[in-house]
Amino acid sequence: MTPPNATLTKNDFKTDQEVRWCPGCGDYAILNAVQSVFPTLGIPKEKFVVVSGIGCSSRLPYYVNTYGFHSIHGRAPAFATGIKCANPELSVWIGTGDGDALSIGGNHLIHAMRRNLDVKVLMFNNRIYGLTKGQFSPTSEVGKITKSTPFGVVDQPFNPIHLALGAGATFVARSVDVMSKHLTSVLQRAAAHRGFAFVEIYQNCNIFNDGAFDHLVEKEIRDDHLVELEHGKPLKFGKAKDKGVRLRGYAPEIVDLKTTPTDDLIVWDEHEPSSALAFLIASMPERAMPQPIGVFRAVDKPTFDGELRKQANEVTATHGDGDLKDLLYSGDLWNVE
């Protein structure tokens, strides 16, 4: 790799293209976080590639001044696979939406996860199809009235964290568009992970699903409705960190630390090899229990692109750099004079 370019700033990652999201859209904050994080990673500007599918969220590449590929709907992980395998030196980022990633693109996503392809996925989850003007997505709630469900959604939604854990993703995290410090730090963590990093970002679509996360992320109530996962720390939440989460049997329960001081709160271990506990706390129902944000899981595994290269290098080391003549002139040969 080229040596880190110490002089990069946020401005270096801005393009001359006008940003075309609706005023007030959560996407701006995410773009801002990306542009803040990229210059801090010690990676030269030209070694980034931002890949996307189609959707409002998938416009991301146009606004980040590096290499970008705005591909077709749902296929960003497949393009990223080709890009990363062809040139493992690149730092490959995917910008995608809940529709792009989980609806049409679900298969590529889970396969990239299981393979542990070394790419970072930022999934802008606004629980709606923004670009096509307001149909429900695979993360929309049952009963929701949308353009395509005048009488309410009947599909059960995905839990994206569950899906990622079920597919074997090695890094799984969640953050929120409006919590820029948290978001920035999660993106930094994702960048540092060697392997597939999946970051679900709660994102407000103020046009077609305004306030979808207000019940969780509004400034005043946030502390009571989100619980931050911090490695090695007990799960505490509330403004005064006076509530905690522990296990009762196999089920998580909330303890009021003021009335019931306890030392058996779940202590977060993002390196736990099994994803079961992460799975469990990701099932805590919205509104009834706090929603975890932060890093659910960060474990080390060989990466797909790494292993692919390694194998090729090993074969080359064993058999030598292939000679074309040897290859063509192999098998049973005969001469005609």
Binding site: K47, T81, L328, V336
Partner: protein, 652 residues
């Protein structure tokens, strides 16, 4: 090349022939493909020209001994230049009743049939549906084969006895019976057996030496049995064919494609990234090149065809030559992404090994019915060139040519082959490495004045700037772009001009592509126009017609779309055009719409190639038809056993 070391107790005449067609047929488990391959290699090394046609059962493994389970391998070897695996076998080797039943309709009276008598027992006869009044009957006993020369051999017994010394299980012993049959054929056609012996030793390796020994023993047993018993009365010799000087190997189409992909990486000094998803009959390309990891060639087995083409295109963006391969149903899935390749103007090679369709169709059979899918099967105006291979060995040159076009014109390119080319084989006169075509790849590196959609004024190709290059950061995608900057543009006039520009870029390839193969009189009453794997049949038929004194020429496309610029001029010299295709007239449609010429379409969609004789008959027929006439594909079809199109109607 002498087999004299095996003694020769009975005296036989040795007649010289200039060509022979053998068909080995048996159950899928009988090893007919191996048997055929060995005969092929031996004949190739012996110096014959040859052509082969394997015929697998469909993807599913049918129960042993049944009709759908029959596997066949036909080889034609000759002392002269030949073009097809032959219309009708001179010898049929039938390992079981099912093989006899399935293949008999193709055998002309007077020809030789070798049967393995051990399998003509009630149980096997039943499975082959040799049944009358609920009971099995034996076709070897009812004089129904009287018009053939039937050679009865108990191959099972010969296999078991010859392999006794090696301590095999009875099942293992029986598995050697194909080599008994092969040995007999080697004797009959006076072939050396040592190549096969050598191969068997390599194949089984030192660990399984007794299996090698047993098979070799079976091979020799067959050879000697034919020699010592008076089984065939005579022996034949097929002298080497006069062939071009050079080093030869036998090659199958898929193999040639795989070799060419390794060559493309070397010749272009650019890594090749191959992404595929298994599908018959394209999978073997993936299998083969996944061994070439030390040739600058990476392979990725994707989760599906869409992922495969997208990964390949992603790799092209990143500076590799992206390649994907599939067959009809898989190609259908790739079309959206190929449209993106058109819009982003990145090189991409899409290999379509055509098979019988529509839908799942006849997966192991051949057809050339994806041409129009490749030319037109994308949303909106998404022009894409199509290159087609005409013989197994030609797959090598065509693949290189397709890569050349892809990187020179920054465009996706289709390479069409088919099941017949993929699995068929022929001797290939190996090219000198230094004679291989250049594939020039130029990556942009100078940031000064860089524009991602700046073009070469001649080819109209845009520049290729790969991620990782400082100063060339840029963004591409599927939305219409402003020429030059590549920025998104919704401007109506820009759109119109870009649609035409992309089309003109591809149209320009008509002037920079492999010209059609033209052969025979350069003007006259008839030219037979073809593309793809029909080359062999057409050449055979045209040569026969010429031998009969008919003035017939042949014009074969290697570049199918855009039609080569010279084609119109060539065709205009003939009074009649005949277009035989293994589809319902797809090239016929292109030629009519592009060149506005009339042509006689002749179609056969039976999952197998044209025979030389049916083409010859058609040539004679068309010569009697009006000049500048035309026949619609639905009106004119190859005859088959079943002359009537049957239709089951409701009720009645």
């Amino acid at each position: 090349m002498d087999v004299g070391n095996h003694g020769s107790p009975v005296h036989h005449d040795r007649k010289t022939l200039d060509q022979v067609v053998i068909r080995f047929a048996g159950d899928s488990g009988d090893g007919m493909q191996i048997t055929g391959n060995e005969f092929t290699k031996t004949s190739a090394i012996f110096g014959n020209d040859l052509a082969t046609l394997p015929d697998f059962p469909a993807e599913i493994r049918a129960p042993a001994g049944t009709l759908p389970g029959v596997s066949g391998f036909q080889i034609r070897f000759a002392a002269k230049d030949i073009h097809t695996p032959g219309d009708e076998p001179d010898v049929l080797v039938a390992m079981n009743p099912a093989a006899l039943k399935v293949n008999l309709p193709d055998i002309r009276a007077g020809r030789t049939i070798v049967v393995n008598t051990a399998t003509f027992v009630d149980k096997e006869l039943e499975k082959a549906l040799y049944m009358k009044d609920g009971k099995a009957f034996n076709p070897l006993d009812d004089h129904s084969l009287d018009s053939y020369r039937v050679i009865r051999v108990d191959l099972n017994k010969l296999a078991i006895e010859s392999t006794k010394p090696f301590g095999l299980t009875p099942k293992e012993s029986l598995r050697c019976k194909n080599f008994v049959a092969l040995g007999m054929m080697y004797w009959l056609y006076h072939r050396p057996i040592e190549h096969t012996e050598k191969w068997l030793r390599e194949y089984f390796g030192p660990k399984k030496q007794q299996l090698a020994d047993a098979n070799i023993a079976a091979l020799r047993a067959g050879y000697h049995y034919a020699e010592t018993t008076d089984l065939f009365h005579e022996q034949f010799e097929i002298p080497p064919a006069p062939m071009r000087r050079g080093t030869y190997r036998n090659v199958m189409g898929n193999q040639a494609v795989g070799l060419a992909l390794a060559a493309a990486a070397k010749l272009s000094k650019t890594p090749v990234f191959f992404a595929g998803y298994p599908i018959t009959p394209a999978s073997d390309i993936l299998h083969q090149i996944s061994r070439y990891k030390n040739y600058g060639l990476l392979t990725f087995q994707a989760e599906d065809e869409i992922a495969a083409v997208c990964a390949a295109l992603g790799a092209s963006f990143a500076g590799s030559i992206g390649v994907t391969a599939s067959s009809g149903p898989g190609i259908a899935l790739k079309t959206e992404a190929i449209g993106l390749a058109v819009m982003t103007e990145l090189p991409l090679l899409v290999i379509d090994v055509q098979r019988g369709g529509p839908s799942t169709g006849l997966p192991t059979k051949t057809e050339q019915a994806d041409l129009l899918q490749c030319v037109f099967g994308r949303n909106s105006e998404a022009p894409t060139p199509v290159v087609a291979a005409s013989s197994p060995a030609d797959c090598f040159a065509r693949t290189l040519e397709a890569v050349r076009i892809a990187v020179k014109y920054m465009t996706p390119v289709y390479l069409l082959t088919d099941g017949y080319l993929a699995n068929g084989s022929e001797p290939w006169c190996l090219p000198e490495i230094q004679d291989l075509p250049k594939i020039d790849v130029h990556f942009q590196s100078n940031p000064e004045g860089f524009k991602p959609y700046a073009r070469d004024p001649k080819t109209l190709a845009r520049v290729w700037a790969k991620p990782g290059t400082p100063g060339l950061e840029h963004r591409i995608g599927g939305i219409e772009k402003r020429d030059g900057t590549g920025n998104i543009s919704y401007d109506p006039d820009n759109h119109d001009s870009m649609v035409r520009l992309r089309t003109r870029k591809i149209a320009g390839i008509a002037h920079d592509c492999t010209p059609p193969l033209v052969d025979g009189p350069s003007e006259g009453p008839l030219v037979v126009l073809g593309w793809g794997s029909t080359l062999g049949s057409i050449t055979g038929a045209v040569e026969s017609a010429q031998a009969k004194g008919l003035k017939v020429a042949r014009c074969h496309l290697q570049q199918v779309w855009p039609l080569p610029a010279t084609l119109g001029g060539i065709l205009s010299k003939y009074e009649r055009i005949l277009i035989p295709e293994m589809n319902l007239g797809q090239l016929w449609r292109l030629v009519r719409s592009e060149l506005a010429v009339d042509a006689y379409s002749f179609t056969k969609v039976q999952g197998r190639p044209f025979t030389t004789s049916e083409l010859l008959r058609k040539i004679e027929e068309v010569l009697k038809m009006p000049a500048h006439g035309s026949a619609h594909p639905l009106e004119s079809k190859a005859q088959s056993g079943l002359l009537q199109e049957t239709t089951e109607t409701v009720g009645g």
